[in-house]
Symmetry: C2
Subunit: 253 residues, 2 copies
Amino acid sequence: MAPATARFRDSPLLPGNCNACPVRRFASYSAVPAGSLNFLQSARAGQRLLPPKRNIYREEMEADEVFTLYDGWAFTYKLLPDGRRQILEFLLPGSFIGLHVLWFKAMPHSVQSLTPVSLCIFDKEKFRDLLRRKPAYEWELLKYSASRQALADERLSDLGRRTAKERIARLALVLHDQLAHRGLVNGGSFPFHLRQEHIADALGLTKVHVSRTLQGLRHEGLLEINRQSARILDFRGLRELTDYSESPAQERV
Amino acid sequence: MAPATARFRDSPLLPGNCNACPVRRFASYSAVPAGSLNFLQSARAGQRLLPPKRNIYREEMEADEVFTLYDGWAFTYKLLPDGRRQILEFLLPGSFIGLHVLWFKAMPHSVQSLTPVSLCIFDKEKFRDLLRRKPAYEWELLKYSASRQALADERLSDLGRRTAKERIARLALVLHDQLAHRGLVNGGSFPFHLRQEHIADALGLTKVHVSRTLQGLRHEGLLEINRQSARILDFRGLRELTDYSESPAQERV
DNA sequence: CGGATTTTTGAAAACCATCAACGCGGGTGG
DNA sequence: CCACCCGCGTTGATGGTTTTCAAAAATCCG
């Protein structure tokens, strides 16, 4: 049998050098001057490669590591006792994972890989020290936390006050913009690693209804999502359907 | 005509002295040693009293002040172009208001007073300086932000995956616990300043349905909410209905 | 007391969920 | 190389939760 890592051809090995890190500009510490990255480096406890559907954290459990998502997609979620699942957030490369473990014993949500994933690992205590000794990192993390909160605000409005069609259209636009920012969009189409069930669990719908709604959007020539990729067919149409502003609030600095 | 402040008999004047501040233990900087509160003091730009239904921030607008809610209730919300409203969070005394303005030009949501409210005002630039010069404050604010995020996670699960009855019951339990923490609960009953429409807009329902669901909960002897106060009638019943854990995640340190 | 706000009630319809079955495609093993 | 299986998406029929619209009753406030 092939070594476990053989399954991860798409997950390049981490450079082990924060200065050279290609996802640094999407990370929370993107504004920290490259010169002081050796402090970050010293908190690094290595890397980890995971296949899809593996838990990085589990709700209610304690943890002693925090992470930066180096490559691949993941998501945070909560499970109800009867099996209902709510996906809270999709995580793309550069995402900081585990803010909570810096203070709290029990994780408020689980985190799971969606694709093969590579993680940059930091020891919890060392990361705490880093933040306390280098306030520039702390400052950036606080800003990062504020910007994620703005995204959460929008998602909450989606679930509370928008129709299935609007929710799905907006999710596509958000992912589009986040991937465009990383240079991964090509003429409106971009890699898309969610199953319809993920869309359903993120947007408070059933997978059956997601399937039907997706077909509606396709037939109206607005949006096309299949197994591997998504494509925005009609930006204008989607924008007026969804009241989606071009520059999301959390990026208007 | 009486001076504007005459309407606010219930809003005691602020002490103007952070050491003596009675809401300090609920505020983000609760763990900052009392000795270094003079730094906080120096960033203070005074106080402000507002009647109910006044906006503290408005979505999309720029601001140059941040606040601590000293007394009264408020809430954050977003408005859709067609008038639909989503309430994101209810704010109780001690809440820090305006994290976003420290970095971003456009507020991601509006904030409005629910009752007469008194605010502790900080100049944005001075508060930024405070955070940068006194990392203890920054650290506490980051922790505070993480704990609010855990609350947002629960609310998102409510909207995405729970029924109207579960949502309302959980909202009551959350407010109960927050007020109990402040010593404002008396035998299961506590002050309650939301109209049914606020509950509806917070939980993604219509006010008509909230009215009907509230009657259901009352008839089942679980929960009673009227204009001034709420009362938990059956903790056990509510807990098993809602899967609500006694110590919410954000407080399990 | 009078006007505005809030809550309640009723009937009908919309949106989405549920249940169940079928189809499609990619990977695996024979 | 083909058959099979499994994960995923599709389709249809039906039902339930919640919405919408409209109006009346109750409460608050000046």
